[in-house]
């Protein structure tokens, strides 16, 4: 079976000759991952073949690696596919951040692991926003345009506890990960608002969990420092990354978001975005 995807003109496919593998493969990119761009170039094909009880993974004809079980396959294949995509999107500035969009206006939520990026993206999605990415923001060079990166959202149990409505959103898969903690792989489109392929950034937020909920402005210098530390490819393209991030912090509103309650935070973000226009 071949699963086909098209992301900003890049085409790739995953061949799997096993039903279990197919189940796993859909967790990397949801079947909705068809975002904008003219199709160009050849389709890159990742293939999973079962040989003598082992799963061998190829890109084209090139063997990449071998695993012994389906459980091992998913994280390796995910990192291979995402790594390939990010390499192809290299001229874009890549930030470790979630992106949500409403009425063509995007909000970047940048922060380290467990800072609440995906939780906030879920809260916004439940409030009617579309999620363009929960992990990687692709900024077009020297602009404040962000392109979507609609890989599956990885929703942890803690987020579901804080937002019980998430139980009504059908996950593509529930799996054990990170020390046997169940996580849900959710398509960004499952919330009923398919992600746009690109949008203009209006606000950048830096969240952290807190006992008080508040949204407060931060300076351009601090924001730039935080954005560059969240950048995945500044080392390869220092000038492009620096100038793109400088442009971003000079043209959008910048906030520190203390998150106590996710719904309250989603409301604060919506109000801040409203105030921009």
């Amino acid at each position: 079976m071949r699963l086909r995807y098209s992301l900003h003109g890049l085409r790739f496919a995953i061949d799997a000759d096993d039903a279990a593998a197919e189940l796993i493969l859909h967790t990397i990119m949801p079947p909705c991952a068809r975002a904008g761009g003219r199709r160009s170039g050849k389709t890159a094909v990742f293939a999973v073949r079962c040989e003598r009880g082992r799963l061998r993974v190829f890109r084209g004809r090139k063997p990449l690696w071998t695993v012994t079980s389906v459980a091992e396959l998913q994280p390796w294949l995910e990192s291979e596919v995402v790594g390939w995509l990010l390499h192809r999107f290299d001229p874009c500035v890549q930030l470790h951040a979630a992106v949500a969009e409403h009425c063509g206006r995007a909000v970047i939520i940048a922060g380290g692991p467990d800072s609440g990026k995906t939780s906030l993206a879920c809260a916004l999605a439940l409030a009617g926003w579309s999620v363009m990415s929960d992990e990687v923001a692709l900024l077009k060079p020297f602009s404040s345009i962000v392109a979507s990166f609609p890989r599956a959202m990885l929703v942890k149990a803690g987020t579901v506890r804080r937002l019980p409505e998430l139980r009504t959103i059908e996950p593509m898969r529930v799996a054990l990960r990170e020390g046997e903690v169940p996580v849900r792989y959710v398509s960004p489109a499952a919330f009923g608002h398919p992600p746009k392929s690109a949008a203009r950034v209006r606000t950048v937020l830096f969240p952290n969990w807190s006992r008080t909920g508040a949204l407060s402005p931060i300076g351009q210098r601090e924001a730039l420092e935080r954005l560059l530390s969240a950048s995945l490819n500044t080392a390869r393209h220092p000038k492009v990354s620096l100038d793109t991030c400088v442009r971003l912090v000079s043209t959008v509103r910048l906030f520190r978001l203390q998150v106590r309650n996710l719904r309250e935070s989603a409301r604060l973000i919506a109000e801040a975005l409203e105030a921009v226009t």
Binding site: R221, P238, D243
Partner: protein, 88 residues
């Protein structure tokens, strides 16, 4: 650093101005250095030709500030730039 020192900025370091200050990015160490406006001004005048005294003179004449105070700030800033490997 001494007042007569003539420091040279590291070539690869990138400088950008923002509304509330400036930043330096060192691609070799991948570190971002955040500067206030005064430190940014000092950085711009360190060019491998001026001594730190010359830098202080220029700032003092441009701003009308006390030269001794300015020189102390320039020496402090240059010491910090040197510690961070941004000038030699």
């Amino acid at each position: 650093m001494k007042p007569a020192s003539v420091p040279r900025p590291k070539e690869a370091v990138l400088f950008r101005e923002l509304a509330d200050g400036c930043v330096l990015y060192d691609p070799e160490t991948e570190k971002v250095h955040s500067l206030n406006l005064t430190a940014g001004f000092i950085w711009c005048l360190i060019d491998g030709a001026r001594s730190l005294e010359d830098v202080a003179d220029e700032i003092a004449s441009a701003t009308g500030a006390d030269r001794a105070v300015v020189l102390r700030d320039v020496l402090d800033a240059a010491g910090e730039f040197a510690r961070q490997g941004l000038i030699s």
